[in-house]
Amino acid sequence: MRKLISLILLVIIAGGIVLSLKEIPFGISKIKIGDYYIKKGIEETGATNIVTSVVVSYRGFDTLGEITILFTAAIGLSAVLGTYRKRKAGEKVEPPSFIVKTGCRFLFPILLLVGAYIFIHGHLTPGGGFQGGAIIASAFLLMYLGCEGKRINENTSIVVEVLGALTFIVLGIIGLTIGKDFLFNFLPKGEPNTLLSAGIIPVIYIAIGFKVGSELAGIIDHLIEKNQ
């Protein structure tokens, strides 16, 4: 009976969404703000990657909120998991095989390099701080898989995390004092398609890259600890 009722409710909801989706013209040029971003984005922000110009410049405040959400989740996770830190000793962990070990050692620096490349070039090519940071965190995940006993230093990761977020906020406040708007792009925009262009956008993305990388690595650290 309960299943039937929930099924009926689901059908009603799905029907409603389909009805409204039929009316909504997704993706056509009626998306007026989107059009504006495409036409004026490079000129106004200096970033050739339009997605980056929207994420960091036009809607930079949302990005500040999003890195805060990630920070909240990481802190919340460590607050909750911190309770279960006393674990049974002697739980056996299978040691990694030779192939895994060598593979991880080989890939670790390359992944760091790729991650850094992606967030440094966030304003020029696809990708950005979040993606680059996630790749860097995956390098640390490999380290946990392949190198037994190695761990990231919790204090270092927290400091990197905090400095990354503070860079974002401080840049915003400098913009507020110079340009009267929070997150105002006060640096020269430079020539599009060069590394040193788009004002504060690459600085913010590098800060986000470091922050997201160390944060996700910290989350992995907290989750892995459980089985050690």
């Binding site: 036009y58 919340g76 460590s78 909750v80």
Partner: protein, 491 residues
């Protein structure tokens, strides 16, 4: 004039700074929320007279509203920002002595983030930005509910997390549908075009948004998480969740219904939902033996009453609803703080363990009694003018429907009075003989100061409601004049 964005940036920046204090001294971190919220309180008080003349609009990143994100510090936003800062400030003083367990650093970070999220929700003028801050508010409250790490805490936090996450996804789908139709995320821009499309295609986003925000606002039938979460969280967090978090959820609903959609036709539905929420909350509260669960159910009831008042849709109705909201925030925060300390002393959440508290902890019991009387709506406390304004506004409609609903509200108030008086009776008039010779235990100053500031506010505003009616009236008219709201942002 101060830039209202500082209301968000100061607590956010300080929340990020807190982890650095582990390298200096562990003793400083508990003062960070105190200073951050004191700053917020001062800034919102200085903005207050400006806002009454004209709402302040701030663009971010140097882009004008439909392109970039903007903040709208109207009377309603500043009213909420002031409430958040005030309650957050007082509760941060309470936490000095109350939060001693576990990793306090994380508590203070999450606490600051929760209030930052709440402030962001009430100040932003962009629907997606509202969602982002709403997520900060929700995620930090999930983890704060589980802060003690005991079994009931984790269980209720997971319950809250699942329901909250479903609600947030619905909100996101709703926003996506709106963006697909209007190509913009600015609330004023959407509001100005809302009547230009087919009504079914805006009805679905409206339903999704109300349902999604309704989970946080604890409107029936979306409130199953609330009694568990509010009762197993630390008492200082229960005070914030009951006093701030559900009100902010309600703000989001009100903003969406009145400003974004201008949907006056859905108000009748919300009217019934409000009364049902009220009745169910009060009836459940009546049966509780656990003091914090009782207070949590009473919060559901009060939210129902506020929803009812706001859905009357007239200026005086919204006015009364907002007054009741302020009154509930102050009284319920006081009740949770006072009850929290009594639980701390008696070691049990059972109402029966409060026997003889009136002798053992005279000040805290006195404060609890004031809070209880205020929630019930006795003069001369702040709850009385609130309820009175709501009933007057409802009867002014001169509709048989409203008369019936008013009858039900009065019935709920009687139930409310019954269970609160039962607790007060237990505190003062029970068990004197069984526990003789108990010496008085005076709560520490960091508990008594915030508690008695709440008592002071409740009594002073109760006697002079005029102190806040001016900002309430302009907030109510901000909600009703959506044309003005649009015109101010998109000239």
């Amino acid at each position: 004039m101060v830039n209202p964005i500082l209301l968000i940036v100061i607590p956010l920046g300080l929340a990020f700074v807190v982890p650095l204090f582990r390298f200096i001294s562990k003793k400083i971190e508990k003062f960070i929320p105190f200073f951050a919220l004191l700053a917020n309180l001062i800034i919102s008080l200085t903005l207050f007279p400006h806002v009454l003349e004209k709402p302040i609009h701030v663009s971010i990143g140097g882009f004008l509203p439909p392109l970039g994100i903007n903040l709208v510090a109207g009377p309603l936003g500043i009213l909420f920002a002031m409430l958040i800062a005030l309650v957050g400030f007082l509760v941060s003083i309470y936490a000095f002595a109350y939060i001693k367990e576990k990793d306090q650093e994380k508590y203070h970070i999450l606490y600051l983030l929760l209030l930052t999220g709440a402030t962001g929700v009430v100040l932003t003028g962009d629907i997606f930005n509202l969602f982002v801050f709403f997520e900060i508010l929700c995620i930090s409250s999930y983890s704060l509910v589980a802060y003690f790490g005991d079994k009931p805490g984790i269980e209720s936090a997971v319950k809250y997390l699942i329901q909250g996450a479903v609600g947030s996804s619905l909100v996101l789908i709703g926003i996506g549908l709106l963006y697909g139709q209007f190509g913009t995320l600015n609330m004023a821009d959407i509001a100005s075009n809302i009547h230009s499309v087919h009504s079914i295609s805006v009805f679905i986003p409206l339903v999704l948004l109300i349902t999604g925000f309704g989970v946080e606002a604890a409107i029936f039938p979306l409130n199953a998480w609330l009694p568990d979460a509010h009762s197993s969280a630390p008492s200082s967090i229960s005070a914030i969740l009951s006093g701030i978090a559900i009100e902010v959820g309600l703000y989001a609903i009100v903003r969406v219904v009145f400003t974004l959609f201008g949907a006056s036709s859905i108000l009748t539905f919300l009217l019934f939902l409000g009364v049902i929420t009220l009745l169910i909350g009060e009836l459940c509260a009546f049966n509780q033996e656990n003091i914090k669960r009782m207070l949590a159910y009473s919060s559901i009831g009060q939210i129902g009453l506020i929803v009812f008042a706001l859905s009357i849709g007239s200026l005086s109705g919204i006015n009364g609803g907002l007054f009741q909201l302020v009154s509930h925030t102050l009284s319920k925060a006081l009740l949770f703080l006072a009850a929290g300390y009594m639980i701390f002393r008696s070691g049990s959440m059972n109402i029966s363990s409060f026997e003889g508290m009136g002798k053992k902890m005279p000040y805290t019991s006195f404060a609890f009694t004031i809070g209880a009387f205020s929630i019930v709506g006795l003069p001369p406390f702040i709850g009385f003018p609130g309820k009175f304004m709501i009933l007057k506004a409802a009867l002014f409609e001169q509709d048989i429907l409203f008369t019936i609903l008013v009858f039900l509200i009065l019935l709920a108030t009687i139930i409310e009075g019954a269970y609160f008086f039962r607790v007060v009776q237990t505190i003062y008039f029970k068990g004197e003989k069984s526990t003789p010779g108990q010496e008085r235990e005076i709560a520490p100053l960091s508990v008594l100061i915030p508690v008695f500031i709440f008592v002071g506010l409740i009594v002073v505003i109760g006697i002079y409601p005029k102190l806040i009616t001016e900002i309430l009236e302009s907030s109510a008219s901000e909600l009703l004049n959506r044309a003005d709201y649009i015109k101010n942002i998109l000239p």
